[in-house]
Symmetry: C2
Subunit: 203 residues, 2 copies
């Protein structure tokens, strides 16, 4: 029997999930938490095989929590279960050690299939996400570290010279980065740049 733990702040969802998993006979729910900190306290002793993890948690980001859990308990397989269907979120989640990714409007059977697959050491993506990730690379936007850093500072409202001071670069360099960002994200100006960044969850 696969031991499953759940972290999600939506109580109706966790209750529904518990019932669903119990009814399947495939796995047993050993712990339910509604925040990362709550989950952190119980992981040590309940030792689940699979952790169902939401990206939006009330305390810290599910992305960071995924990395944290994987560092402390590398043997626990993490299966993301969330509403986000953006490339960058899935990409980061997998890079942070997740073994699978489900979106919340996936079929019930997919959730059980996902639990089974990741428990067996496989990588599992639900249908919609699988299609998303297989799309040609050009349709996805991927920014370098520096570019992401710049984008964050721009979205915080810093001017070029303020950014330059902050990260010890020439204002001219910042200008180049911004030009590149406008090009890469196909944005006409800063307003659109910020909108796209937030919509694609790049920052």
């Amino acid at each position: 029997m696969i031991k499953v733990a759940i972290v999600d702040d939506h109580k109706i969802l966790t209750e529904g999930l518990q019932g669903l998993i119990a009814a399947s006979g495939l796995a047993t729910v050993v712990n339910v938490a509604h925040s990362a900190s709550e989950c952190r306290q119980s992981l040590g002793f309940c030792k689940p095989d699979v952790l169902l993890l939401d990206v939006s948690l009330p305390d810290i980001s599910g992305l960071d929590f995924c990395k944290e859990v994987k560092t402390e308990f590398p043997e626990i397989k993490i299966l993301a279960l969330t509403t986000h269907n953006e490339y960058s979120i899935v990409r980061q989640m997998l890079d942070n050690g997740a073994s699978g990714y489900l979106i919340k409007n996936a079929m019930t059977e997919e959730i059980l299939a996902g639990i089974k697959a990741v428990a067996a050491g496989e990588i599992f993506l639900c249908h919609e996400i699988d299609i998303l990730m297989k799309r040609p690379k050009e349709t996805h936007t991927w920014l370098s570290h520096r570019e992401k850093e710049l984008l964050k500072l721009v979205a915080e409202g810093l001017t070029n010279s303020e950014i330059a001071e902050r990260i010890f670069l020439s204002p001219e360099t910042i200008k180049s980065y911004r030009k590149n960002l406008l090009l890469k994200l196909d944005a006409k100006n800063t307003a659109v740049l910020v909108r796209i960044a937030l919509e694609k969850k790049l920052i």
Copy 2:
């Protein structure tokens, strides 16, 4: 027995909800839809007393769908059930005719209490939302029609003169509006303006 219909694209949640409502003995689920169009087709004959409605639907906005249902079937009480806890969303939902508002991490009992209350013709807000709405007016941002319109166009990347042409106003007027928006939303510049607008779901 209260007749309840549900519209939400998260299948796990709708299944959980169905079980929960059935187990309570308070109400009976007469219909479950995963999109507005699906729901639209069934509302006519299943005639629910209460409609549990999510704000994010795959086809159209739950806000618009709320208004639509209220126009066609004024006797159906609408109870919003969603993750959004922003003032502007709640405000719009209530203005569009919703009788109640629940957030998805609310307690199970609150959902049942909400169904009971709105079926009885009352207005019901879950605890967290109640607190949010009771906060002094000054802490909420509320924009006029024109200001919202402007903000949308700014976020689309139009320059002042482009906006002026589009809505037949003087470019100087647009400048004034923008200055006001920066003040009202306490934004240093356009980048922050757009970020705040998206974060507070004002546009």
